[in-house]
Amino acid sequence: MNRLSRLAINEEGFIFDPITGNSFTTNQVGLWILERLKKGKKEEEILAEMLEYFEVDPETAERDLTDFIEQLRNYKLI
């Protein structure tokens, strides 16, 4: 996950990778997940926190988290 540590992320969800020069945008939920990934939290921990923090059923939360992490992998951010 150390690639994440290099990213510059602002509170509006703009993400800049200073090594590649690529930039991305995400929504507030993506930002919330990224904050936790940057702290080194595991997927299961983040999922548990999501269920506490958001009004969401476990299946939807797990699907959204998995999708988001897959996107980060596709963009080679993790």
Binding site: A8, F16, P18, I19, T20, G21, N22, S23, K76
Partner: protein, 346 residues
Amino acid sequence: MAETLVVAVSGINAVDNPGPGLGVIRSLKEDPELEVRAIGLAYDAMEPGIFLDWLVDRSFIMPYPSSAEEDYLARLAYVQQVTGLQVVVPTLDAELPIFIKGEKQLEAQGIKTFLPTWEQFELRSKQRLLELAPRLGLSLPPTEAVSSYQDLIKALDRLGFPAMIKGLFYKAYRVHTFAEAEGAFQKIVKEWGYPVLVQKVVHGEEVNVVGVGDGQGGSLGLMAIKKLWITSLGKIWTGVTIKNQDLIQATERFLEEIGWRGAFELECIATDDRIYLIEINPRFPAWIYFATGAGINLPARLVRAALDLPVEKDAEYEAGRLYIRYTYDLVTSMDTFQRIVTKGET
């Protein structure tokens, strides 16, 4: 108040294929300790820089660099006589041979330059890059040198389309069919001769490094960027500063290995696991003001080095500085145009 320094700069053609000259002049004028009087060296009376009097103080039409060397140097001697010229910063590929060969003569006349040696200039031939790239820790896209139409077809069979057809030093065409490849091959042979290089197109991010080598293996500053938006002519219109350590280290190795002196631009393609070296340009790129705006005034450093003045060498800049090129309109009288057309100078 500082003594006025007279510096001539070429490439003041800020058109769809812009020259680096105006970016160089703007940088020189922004150095708080240099009081620069800028002389524009132009090849056409309609080069926009001639008319931008807040940047270019005087302009002179030059003979083409392909003309006799003595005519070119004689014109420079005239420019010196009427302006007190002290330093020249040539920014166009085609001018470099004449300036590198004429360096000693210019120096004897009191005109300073800060250029690569002839050996260094030749090293960046695309054929020589084949042996240089691995020494720098960079990859080179699969490339074949061909000297006949039959060899061209065989090379394209092996490398596939799209491919780049390149002259040894100048010109590159991207081709998608055998017919396009044949046309590009013939244009290059006609203009630049053999061999012609056929190169596989690699896909990735276009990343570049601009810098100035001190001639002793070190740097007088460098900066890496990614091109975000390019025109159909391949010219950057938007870019961003990056901090790619692999790219910076390869550039430092290039300076160490070659002892490069003067301005340079490394053009590369970065993929997930490799950096491909595409070209080494022995001059500032047209986007040189980007470095100045990001805090590293490379043209001013080069001029200081040419004059043996103290030079800052740091390469501190922030990743994420954005470069936006834009066009601008100027409406003026015919006066300047008349002068440059009738007298060859303003």
